[in-house]
Symmetry: C2
Subunit: 303 residues, 2 copies
């Protein structure tokens, strides 16, 4: 089997044109170098050097092998260098999954922010429901997921990012009179509009409501918050809206936002990654960036 050691010794021999001096170059004894050269020659089935009194001469094959050897050694060197060059924080590609009830509000702020702070970043985004994202994370298709906690962390690490309070959204001209702030038992399940199955917000909305009367809930699944809120604006019912969505959605739908009484229901948004991933530092940096962005968005809505 050809080895890099043989090639390194051979390169030294070709440079020094002398076994003893070559051995010094690579810091071994002359017999050690001699043996490796012989091993290399016997493995290749070719005489690489002519041993004569007036030093060492390379054969034709030796010259050819030397050229290839030097090229290989240079590439090995480059491999070592590039591997050791510790890539800084958030450099290169990072593939992030985001849940649909968060992505439209967070991503337009987050991506420019990341690009500004980490110019070498290459972001790939995927929007899907939590279960799909977690599966992709496990398969190595994604590096990180932004989703609602808690979740079934099996081999996954998570870090809380921010708390996203729920509000009730209803049509601006809604006749129903509600106390403000709202208490959970005032929510009429029959009027509650929900996202389709699979969205965590659907489950969270149901959790907020009193368990009574769930049988009668409107089995009408919207596919996005925007669709849902258009339905709300058209008087078809009401829905839970996370705080982060308010500034965007209130601007384009004629809706009224009603807060809940304390303790206000909320979803906890977190960052998720494979526990086996070595990108701890990237995850820290990403988490900070997301928290900052979310705070900005929510503060903007409050103002």
């Amino acid at each position: 089997m050809l080895t890099l050691r043989q090639m390194r010794y051979f390169e030294a021999l070709a440079s020094a044109r002398h076994f003893g001096k070559a051995a010094e170059l690579v810091h071994v004894s002359q017999p050690a170098l001699s043996a490796q050269i012989m091993e290399m020659e016997s493995h290749l089935g070719v005489k690489l050097v002519e041993r004569s009194r007036s030093g060492v001469l390379l054969t034709r094959k030796g010259e050819e092998v030397l050229a290839r050897t030097r090229a290989i050694l240079v590439e090995v060197d480059q491999l070592e260098q590039s591997a050791r060059a510790s890539s800084g924080t958030l450099e290169g590609r990072i593939r992030i999954g985001v849940i649909p009830t968060l992505a439209p509000y967070l991503v337009p702020r987050l991506v420019p922010h990341l690009r500004r702070v980490y110019p070498a970043i290459e972001i790939e985004l995927k929007e899907s429901v939590t279960s799909r994202l977690v599966a992709d994370l496990g398969d190595g298709v994604l590096d990180a997921v932004i989703a609602a906690l808690p979740l079934d962390t099996d081999g996954l690490a998570t870090k809380p990012l921010f708390s996203d309070r729920f509000y009730m959204a209803m049509a601006d001209n809604e006749r129903t009179i509600l106390m403000s702030p709202l208490t959970e038992d005032q929510v009429d399940v029959e009027q509650l509009l929900l996202l389709e199955e699979g969205h965590c917000l659907r489950d969270q909305a149901l959790a907020v409501c009193s368990t009574a009367g769930k049988r009668r809930l409107v089995s009408f699944g919207a596919t996005s918050m925007t669709t849902l809120l258009q339905m709300v604006a058209n008087g078809m019912g009401m829905t839970l809206i996370p705080e982060i969505a308010i500034s965007t959605e209130a601007a384009r739908n004629a809706i009224r936002i009603v807060p809940f009484a304390a303790p206000e229901p909320a979803r906890e948004i977190g960052l998720v990654w494979r526990r086996s991933s070595p990108r701890e530092r990237d995850m820290d940096a990403l988490a900070t960036a997301i928290s900052d962005c979310a705070d900005d968005i929510i503060r903007a809505a409050a103002a």
Copy 2:
């Protein structure tokens, strides 16, 4: 120290995405592969793979190292292949030195002949005096030398090629009457024209002549046979001409060629190479080719 073994195992691991299967691929046990991968990671200071329950995932660095590793392994493979590809007889470059009193007559025939019989040959020629050629041979600048034997073979191997008889060349209108065939004691050293110092033919000419009267020899060195024979044709004296030069030189100079009586003086032309050179077969083939060409040339002159 990074090794090819590590790189081969890593390549297998990246392909199989499974330690056990990768170990099978490279025909070692799983702990052996595991250890090499860990060694590689620790040497590079980088995590190359994520070990998770659902198989093995490459990190970003791992992907990069894999790409470089594959490139290197391919090149190593090519090195082995090309080294093992036993180059046939007289393929590739061969650097040949020829003495000046032979080159102008032999080379124009020899080179086309070699090119015809060995299409893959790349010939480099150098014309110089024997001492220079032998020095270049020792330095590895030349692979073979065609010169007059015997010579001081120090670390050199030689093979006789052909015998090149001497004739006396004189002006066509020379008044001097000589017996034909000539005997050596008839040669008048005062009339003998010689090549400059260093040419073996000069020494051979002197050896042919009776040692008497060497004090009076014309110390007039020509630099080539052609020059010398032009001087002869102009009546400035006479000189020894080797048989191989006759057909060419007689055609362009008004000279008379007189043979010697037996035992005819001659020079022995031989092929010389470093004894340490592994190109024995090439030398055999070259010797045969030269002998054939020389015979052709001399036979053409006789006809």
